[in-house]
């Protein structure tokens, strides 16, 4: 039932703007980076030498997530073959910085993978540097949105931390689920994961409260004919759609948004926390344990996709003021 529901939901989401690849990218690569960052924290305070299978899975998962994410974001460009040009503007553009940081991350990251796999101790330094670069990458992603004045829901101090904490929480959850899978334990991971999941939930709720306040732009400033006049859109420039209405003016009903918010909270925060905390009481059979944590992770990822979808769809761009919206 739930699966069918999610499938339908997924299909619907895919059909919708904003660009699926951005949603996919930010969630996937965020998770991948999250894994690396989480690992580096763990490395700071504990031993992270696990068995090969476990390591290999971590390496593969983080690498794939990061790379798939990056690839998808590159492929969604109008001209992917020109992507290399995006390094040139690191002085002014967060997107350029993000791209640069993402690519730079690969250098220590690959070395870390290799050395870790070879069990050479210096892997830690590469892990730390990869992790720092991952933070920078996510930070750039966050800043890219946070610095857009045109979208009041993004233009605030919560967005970047949310990007970071989302990555971290789902990253550590991934590791946690893997430990269940490989039946191993990592010191402090339990607390770390719970903490980041809780933080993730908290920040998001604060954020949602925050974005209820409206911005300074209104239809009155947009067309500039008197502060107190009642302005309504009579006819748009096209009776059909255009680039702006397709790309930036997405409408979602309040009830639906609230429902999706709830989905996120449950799938990405409550469910994992519940699973982690209640693990002992819940599960008897090892196979079921593995399966349920696998499902938990998948659900959490879906929750994250939903969160990201909401992030975009609920972000009202000021241009919508020209298309019938009275305030953003």
């Amino acid at each position: 039932m739930i699966m069918i529901f999610l499938l339908i939901l997924g299909k619907k989401l895919l059909k919708m703007h904003p660009s699926k690849s951005i949603i996919f990218f930010t969630v996937m690569s965020g998770t991948g980076y999250g894994i690396i960052i989480c690992l580096s924290f763990l490395a700071l305070i504990a031993e992270i030498n696990f068995n090969y299978g476990f390591k290999l899975s971590l390496i593969l998962i983080s690498f794939l997530f990061i790379t798939l994410g990056l690839l998808s974001s590159t492929l969604h460009l109008g001209h992917p073959e020109r992507a290399w040009r995006s390094f040139s503007q690191w002085r002014s553009s967060w997107l350029s910085r993000e791209g640069l940081a993402a690519v730079l991350t690969y250098i220590p990251l690959m070395l870390f993978y290799l050395l870790w796999f070879l069990e050479m101790d210096i892997f830690k330094y590469f892990l730390y540097s990869a992790s720092i670069l991952s933070v920078i990458t996510i930070y750039c992603t966050g800043q890219m949105y946070a610095s857009l004045k045109t979208v009041p829901a993004w233009n605030n101090v919560y967005v970047t931390p949310i990007y970071l904490i989302n990555g971290l929480s789902i990253g550590s959850l991934s590791i946690y689920c893997l430990t269940r899978f490989y039946e191993s334990e990592i010191q402090h991971l339990y607390q770390f994961t719970l903490l980041s999941l809780a933080l993730c939930l908290m920040l998001k709720i604060i954020y949602w409260f925050h974005i209820r306040t409206k911005s300074t732009s209104s239809i009155n400033t947009a067309i500039g004919l008197g502060k107190d006049n009642k302005v309504s859109s009579f006819e748009g420039p096209h009776t059909g759609r255009n680039f702006l209405t397709t790309e930036m003016i997405n409408k979602i009903k309040k009830e639906k948004a609230n429902f999706l918010r709830l989905c996120f909270i449950i799938l990405s925060c409550i469910l994992p926390i519940y699973m982690i905390v209640q693990e002992a009481t819940l599960i008897i059979d090892a196979f079921i344990l593995k399966l349920s944590f696998f499902i938990t992770l998948v659900f959490a990822l879906i929750g994250m996709l939903i969160e990201r979808y909401l992030f975009f769809i609920q972000a009202k761009h000021v241009v919508s003021l020209y298309y019938g919206e009275n305030k953003v």
Partner: protein, 975 residues
Amino acid sequence: MNPFKNQKEIVKTSPRVSDEIKQTTCYMCACRCGIDVHMLDNQIRYIEGNKNHPTNKGVLCAKGSAGIMQQNSPAKLSKPLLRIGERGKGEFKEIEWDEAMQIATTWLSDIRNTDPKKLAFFTGRDQSQSLTGWWANQFGTCNFAAHGGFCSVNMAAAGLYTIGGSFWEFGEVDWDHTKYFILFGCAEDHDSNPIKMGLGKLKSKVDSKFVSVNPVKTGYSAIADEWIGIRPGTDGLFVHSLIYELLKSNKVDWKYLSKYTNANWLVYNNPGNKKHGLFARDENNLPVVYCKNTKIVSSDIENTNSAFFGKYKYNNVEVIPSFEFLSKEYLHPKYKPDNISKLIDIDAKVIKKIAAEIAETAFEKEIEIKVDWEDHNGKKHSSFKGRPVSMHAMRGISAHSNGFNTCKLIHILQTLIGSIDVPGGFRYKAPYPKHVVPGPKPAGKIVKPNTPIGGMPLGFPTSPEDLLTDEDEKPLRIDKAYSWENPLSAHGLMHMVINNAWKGDPYKIDVLFMYMANMAWNSSMNTEETIKKLTDKDEETGEYKIPKIIYSDAYYSETVPYADLVLPDTTYLERWDCISLLDRPISSADSAADAIRQPIIEPTRDVKPFQDVLIDLGARLGLPSFVNEDMSPKYPNGYSDYIVNHERQPGIGPLAGWRGNGNQFGKGEVNKNQLEEYIQNGCFHNHEFNDNQKYYKFTNKHYLNFAHEMGWINKKEPIVIQMYSEEMQKFKLAGEGYGDKIPPDHLKDRIAKYFNPVPTWYQPFEEKINKEKGKSFDLYAVTQRPPHMYHSWGSQNAWLRQITNLNYLYISEYIAQENNLKNLDWVWLESFSSKIKVQCRVMKGVNKNTVWTWNAIGKRKGAWNLSPGAPESNKGFLLNHLISDVLPNEGNRNSQLSNSDPITGQAAWYDLKVKIYKCKDEEIDGKIYPNFDTIKNKSRKNMYISDYGKQFTKEFKDNNLTLNQEYIGNSKNIK
């Protein structure tokens, strides 16, 4: 390539724009602006306005700017088509031109040899009426007209029967000098660009005011300084009320009235006599006036104080000055603002204020242009004095069954304050003014095999004797034009042809030949029924009731599938054309101008210009003016040949410029190089009048002499404005039973009632009849032209249809509230004859009892090469389905009268009355009703991407250069 390096763009600021600029005349609408077509590698790079052109002076509207996409339309026809399936199914066989011409010739010559009136030749948006009308005359059928009857003949006729010129495109506002401008019921008009330029100019002056009288506040009305949101059909009352205020306060230009109008002419006042209400005339047949000193004298004698009032005796009969009659009528207390207010939805205070403002501007802000000029008496004046109040009106007035009278009322108002053809007022455009009533009478009383009808089929009757009726007073023409049903139908009644031909009323025809009119869709009233009539068969014979239909269109319109033979035309960029002073010229008030179109690109399809085809057909049929004595074609090279070589009268041909040896204007021998001269000059000729000819043209000696010389008027005498119309009175008398020719009984009252020597308002028919029948259709429904669409053509245009490809029904907040409606609700809109299901939107700027929509956005599925799922066909709709072509039966026998003005036969589109109610949930399917089936078009092409311009991309690699300048629009004239 260093990824960290910024690659700077080198912008090529001087790409090639054209190898050649070809100039011609736009025909994305009837405004006929001059265009510069930039050709690059033999393709169109850019179309812009011709800066030197008198009409548009360099500007270009949205339609004109989309000409490239008109030329690129995949809906263009490409080959003559012969119907092989059932009519309306779109099953055709492509045939060669030879075969097509043979078929047409056979069909037509049969008719011509037996009964030429069995050909009904109706041409819609025809800009070559002087050719097509001439052709009909030569063929010998009386059944010819163009689209004027369903368009705005009320404006033309009301003007020509009153002031000798008219609104529409035949006159214009003195934009440079006017200070107070009232626009009645106009959204676009044919003077599309000039009006916009004028409004920009006017609004930029500080001491000006622009008032728009219109139930809807969009477009021009949106920028009006004051919007009068009038109730449709009641402008006549509003004007009555203004006249009442002005008269009552003595705000009248008496001098003007006495000199230039018939206000002081004496009329017989002896009711019951057949001369009652006609002008008293002296032995020279001249009207007479009463002067204190000289008593009764002929009106052409220079007199200073003729009487406007009083009762006198002439030949022992009581006579009164026509003005006494007029003012008495207009001062009736029923026209008091307080009594009118409720009927027109305008506050009495507002009416009074507008009247006061008109008076103040006219009489206290008089202007003067210093020029020496002479009036017709040879009296010298040193300046043109002007009352800077101007008016313009269009279909909001004309498309009502009281439009003729309402338009006349506006002319009376203008005349009372002396603002016709004076600085700051309304001005005639050449070849107007003409003497009231102008020109020839309609020809066609006698129709004989193989014989021309001896004149142009359209003209201006002045008395019942001029009507085209038989001895039983029955109509002679298929559209019943010039019959007792609509005596002054100066442009015919194209909207009645299909109905009448189908009914065989007054008789059956054999061939319906149409050109450039989408009669199976947006130009028909009651489209659904019209389509049925086109395909209806006679039960006995199994033949179509309208046996043969020939149609010329350039595109796959809704009408194409209903033709038996389709003659594919070129686009406007592919042919010769002539915009003639004999027809609908492009003159302004300052100059007489005409223009041509020249082919600027070769058609890549097997199509021919319709005019060429018509001339060829004329030759094949042996029509006298189209063949030489040896029966060889007279104009073997087609229309361009005709344009140059045809002479209507000696020395007068389609084009007035560069005649004779090349420097004669108006009259002169044929000049073989005429077209080259036009092309050299941007495809137009503009004859600017001398400054002393520009105003007071009705009395201006130098103007009148010139106009006479040009053949525009047939006598040099002054043109007298007919505030009191004797012609109307003659018809009225006939209606009352006086005279030699009287209407059939069932039309007597109608004639007597609606023909009045001084115009008055009456309730539009549909409303009146609904009321009498106790039916409540309380709301008014009208349409407006979108500025960027020309009727049905626009939707095939890839650019224009992106702006508007569906339409909503706009309703007032009041209607929304009363009917519990909100934006995007689906509603039923019902008239007495039909109903439609559409989507509504609520707006503020509309008269509270009015609903409206954009005209002709709705398209039939499959037409215009659009996909059947196109928004135009699923959400776009026409109001035409609700508009009946005939009036509800009034209970009289025989009285299936057309839904038209009783005087001119002008289609009363905007008389439509409706009610609105919300659709039930189960009725909502996201689509409009009626939803016609898809018409087949085998040639339909799919196209997913249009990348016009790609071919020119290569022009963009090069370097820089700097130079720029300022350009200030109209806003400059501030302060």
